[in-house]
Amino acid sequence: MIYKRSELGDNIGFTTIIDDKFKSSSLAVYFLTELSEETAAVNNLGITILTFSSRQYRTYASLCEKLSELYGAGLGSIARKKGDAQILGLKASWLDNKYAIDGEDICGEMRKLIHGCLFEPNVNGNAFDAESFNIVKKDLIDRIDGELNQKRSYAISKAAKTAFRGEPAECTGYGSREAALSATSENALKAYRELMKTAQIEIYYVSPREDNSFAEMFTESFGSIERAPKKVSIRNHSPLKPEPEHVSEEFDVNQCKMVLAFKTESDDKYALKMLSIIYGEMPFSKLFLNVREKLSLCYYCVSTSVSAKGTFFVDSGIERENIDKARNEIMAQLEEIKKGNITDEEIESSLMALDNAVLQIGDTASSYISWFFDCFSDGKLITPEEHFNEFKAVTKERIVQAANSLKLDTVYLMLDKEVQE
């Protein structure tokens, strides 16, 4: 593997990864901007619409036709959050020219297509093309409405909204329904232009062969755009509420969901991750072995560490009558760790699992991109091996300390209606 990173302009990073084992190439263009209720939806629309049409491909149909001609090349958008930042962008992947049956230059065609989508959008006057905008806007509103379809992720999202109230991370990475409804193609175009000017931009290109054509295209195209980048603050620990806040909602569901959000002031992200693995990320973790296997209370009971917000989530699906029992066991297992009841095997198993995961970075183009983007977001480029060494250096004491730093902040419950007394 060959790794190269260069600055193409003011706060525009370009990372190339050459790995000849792949049969396809992948590109991701990330725009990092401040997350806010006012701009999240319109920012999302302003970027997503770029994947629906361009000046050359005026309709979604014509763009899709071209992509399928290029051996089913993929083009999609990104809209999510990381800490207090909104991450927007384009992602694309396509078959390497070597596999083109009729000798087509798939890569060259994709470069032109991506250039067109990103730098020559389908604009009429001061607005995006109305037809494309309507499709994208409906898609976004449907996505927001569809949140409730996935009960587990809905519950986690509602817990996060409560835990991060008053902070940027209170918003979703794709925006609220109200903001999406009031968005117009004019303000989506303004948002797109603003992002091209002010967002921090990171581009990742994974290819089986040496190829400078994308770097050259981006250098030239961004060169003609006036840039005034704004620094984005991703990592901000969320303050602990004076008292844990309890939120519950009732739906006609078969299974209740419980999400606990804990806050920490600790910056020891490696110890927090080790804690999360020992506590509840793996089938050898305490929550799996006790809440699921010993007490048979649930199918899943999992912890997740969101280090950018200094927050820790535990979520589970349970019977209403077992909520207290499950919660007590979740808290009891945390208490065990706080008291130092961690075995050498648990630490060793966590390291083994991390070692395996780290070694798998690079087996897919997306794992390369995630790795280098995470390094960028954390402000420190290290190798996966160095990353693993940081975990190896974590002592039992640091894990216990991390556990003792956790304080319960939010409890979200999705309750069933039928068994309500």
């Binding site: 049969k23 051996y71 037809e131 078969n254 089938p283 083994m352 395996n356």
Partner: protein
């Protein structure tokens, strides 16, 4: 021991197939440059196999719904310890799943694959079921069933199958129901295990950073030879007609969703692969946003970008399904019926056909980029009774007339079921 090298003439990829002396079929793909290893040990035993006998049995045995899935859960417990505990010592990520026609045990790792393979082969061949450990699992699986019952995509799909199949067990939930699993006990689990977990009915697929010789050496030492028991699975007679054309259910969802399925004739092996390829191109054409029908439905806001099509098949069932979010799925049904008729009568535009073929080919080649996908490809091809690279070959030989022929033969209005999950008022 018979060893074949299987090669794709289109991409140059190859893998090894071995008919092991133990009775097991083994597929190995050494993938240069990759770090990870994906191994899958599967049996041709899924939720649809509810009635069976071996040569030694006089009568067919009928088992409770959900037992294949229950067995999968229980096989993770050894007499001495849980299997996850063993994987925890090596760092592998172990898992398992049960589908309609198979149960698979798998691990993914980038170190210690030799040790992990030994663990996998050992625990799958060493069942340990007791009253206590069976009872303990009831609560866990009960919660899994309730979780999937709250999943609208799952509900809309099974409602469609119930509207489509009169008797075939594909219409039952893979995990069964809280009631059906209450009839499962250790003896029944052993009966199913002894019947289906015979190496002659199983397959091992392993891909990634491995040595084929090392894999075979481990297989030689860990596999316990099995006599072929003459397994017979039977399915109830299933009429070609559907049960009902429309099923609606209200659920707490934010977006209404639908499945529109078309019941088709079920074949097997290579003939099924040909039908599957034709059906796949037909669904791609009918859900292609580049073509006028979808373009119109998108503009009219009847569909959104979630609209798509797929082919769903297995032993004695074959269905073409369109799905997505919509408040007006009846309009989509009418549009699909009209467009199917138009294509059958007017033929498929050759340029569109070639474009869809290229697109399918591109996606198949890209799959070979991925260790997990390659392990899945080899295992699924074996269970489907074909070879791993047959799909690319069949695709390259497919003509637009083959697709029209499939549509004329199979995509009939009176065989379609529309299942809808609507928002609660």
């Amino acid at each position: 021991m018979k060893k074949d090298i299987l090669t794709s003439s289109r991409t140059g990829d190859s893998c090894i197939h071995i008919k092991h002396k133990s009775g097991l079929d083994i597929y190995i793909c050494e993938m240069k440059g990759f770090s990870s290893i994906e191994a899958m040990f599967g049996t041709k035993y899924g939720s649809v196999n509810t009635m069976f006998k071996t040569a030694a049995d006089k009568d067919y045995t009928t088992v409770p719904e959900g037992i294949a899935h229950f067995l999968e859960h229980k096989l993770f417990e050894n007499e001495d310890c849980g299997v996850f505990e063993l994987y925890a010592r090596t760092g592998a990520s172990g898992n398992a799943f049960t589908s309609f026609d198979k149960t698979c045990y798998l691990f993914s790792c980038s170190k210690n694959y030799e040790e992990n393979l030994k663990i996998l082969l050992d625990f799958v061949q060493k069942p340990y079921f007791t009253k206590e450990n069976v009872d303990k699992e009831m609560g866990i699986i009960g919660q899994e069933i309730k979780m999937t019952n709250d999943n609208p995509e799952w509900r809309v799909f099974f409602n469609m199958l119930r509207g489509m199949y009169h008797a075939h067990p594909v219409k039952i939930d893979i995990a069964g129901t809280v009631e059906s699993i209450s009839h499962i006990d250790a003896d029944l689990l052993y009966k199913c295990y002894d019947t289906f977990y015979n190496l002659n009915n199983m397959v091992l697929s392993i891909a990634g950073n491995i040595s084929a010789d090392k894999v075979l050496e481990i297989c030689d030492s860990c596999l316990r030879p099995c006599a072929d028991k003459g397994l017979e699975t039977v399915f109830p007679d299933e009429p070609a007609e559907i049960v009902q054309a429309e099923i609606r259910e209200k659920q707490p969802v934010g977006a209404s969703i639908f499945n529109l399925g078309c019941k088709c004739t079920a074949k097997s092996g290579y003939e099924r692969l040909k039908d599957m390829t034709a059906a796949s191109i037909a669904t791609s054409l009918l859900s292609d946003p580049a073509l006028p029908m979808c373009e119109r439905l998108l503009k009219e806001e009847v569909i959104n970008s979630t609209f798509g099509g797929e082919v769903f098949y297995g032993d004695n069932y074959f269905t073409v399904i369109f799905s997505g979010e919509s408040d007006e799925p009846e309009k989509i049904r009418e549009a699909l019926f009209a467009e199917t008729d138009r294509l059958i009568n007017e033929g498929i535009n050759e340029k569109d056909f070639q474009r869809i073929k290229k697109s399918s080919y591109g996606m198949m080649v890209c799959e070979l980029n991925n260790v997990e996908a390659v392990a899945n490809l080899m295992l699924n091809a074996h269970i489907d009774g074909v070879k791993p690279y047959d799909a690319i070959e069949v695709l390259s030989e497919m003509t637009s007339n083959d697709v029209i022929d499939f549509m004329r033969r199979e995509m009939r209005r009176d065989r379609c079921v529309l299942s809808i999950i609507e928002k609660e008022a």
